[in-house]
Symmetry: C2
Subunit: 168 residues, 2 copies
Amino acid sequence: MQITRAAEYGVLGLTALARRPLGEVVMIETLCAEEDIPNSFLGKILQSLAKAGIVKSARGSGGGFSLARTPTEVTALEIIEAIEGPIAFQRCLDEDLGCEHSGGCALCALLSEAQEQVREVFGRTTLSDLTGRHIPNGLVRQARNRSSETAAPVMPLDPVPVQPAPAS
Amino acid sequence: MQITRAAEYGVLGLTALARRPLGEVVMIETLCAEEDIPNSFLGKILQSLAKAGIVKSARGSGGGFSLARTPTEVTALEIIEAIEGPIAFQRCLDEDLGCEHSGGCALCALLSEAQEQVREVFGRTTLSDLTGRHIPNGLVRQARNRSSETAAPVMPLDPVPVQPAPAS
DNA sequence: GCTTTTCCAGACGAATTTGGTCTGGTTCGC
DNA sequence: GCGAACCAGACCAAATTCGTCTGGAAAAGC
Ligand code: SF4
Ligand code: SF4
């Protein structure tokens, strides 16, 4: 009953991208550093996202990834399903597999209801919503490392030095 | 992003039990036949349910399992969490593991919201709700087998011969 | 007290999924 | 042409899932 790491990294990676002006091209390595994601893994994840038309990729020197749409028009549901495939709580709710009992199965009905709730929550949350209230995980870790050098054991999480919102 | 088979079988097994008068003792084998569940697997699942105080077990000849509470007082959430452990969409939402970024992580907030929705749906559905609208999977399979002998390809799912609701 | 029947506890293991890495390409800018 | 970057897929280790199996232990009946 967990979201996979791939989906988690995918969403986080996109917030890193969405934090920038629309259309800016960024290398995988940069995104990984900002959100603390294993480098080559994010590469693979972004490929799925590119196929789904959420990001655009540019090869060659000066290349990287950029958002294909504005962050307000990309939902978390799209991102997650692009990476993990359709959300399905059981095989009966998966289009491909199915279950012969699904007609009269009470559990199937219950799971279907729960699943719809999840899709609703993910579906109404856009990438820009997420980016707005997100503190880049990489920054958090850096701050923690610095403070441990200077002996303070717990980091107070001061006002965060995120880049100012794009004036749009 | 799936409910495990164990949880599925657990819920189905309990509907089989709840279909009977409260307190009736039934053997694993009988329950398995009714809902089409691998025999020894259900044994293990029922052990967790017994530890959680949802069913009572009786050893020896004439033994088996019985519900420890009325079906109206057992929620699907209890059943599922007794089997799978607490529902947690990510490590940050799991009490034991946790994640150091959880403070400022937007994804964590989103997953938390989705997860609460699921818990709400499961929490308000009782075992008696489920039993009420459930057609035992074993019966469905038997009917299918019979109809395939007599050549009818699709089974119409007639009014089902489930035992009448306990007059209570 | 012996036997039969049932659950109990946990070891065991095959299959699948997850969480990545690596390699050999391909495409682009220069 | 060269180097920087993505691309496609093979590959792999670890974890999890989905069970089975075995040797008990308790209860009932004789
Ligand atoms: S929940 Fe019911 S319908 Fe869905 S897979 Fe399980 S048995 Fe089949
Ligand atoms: S969602 Fe955010 S807080 Fe939760 S585990 Fe992932 S990084 Fe940590």
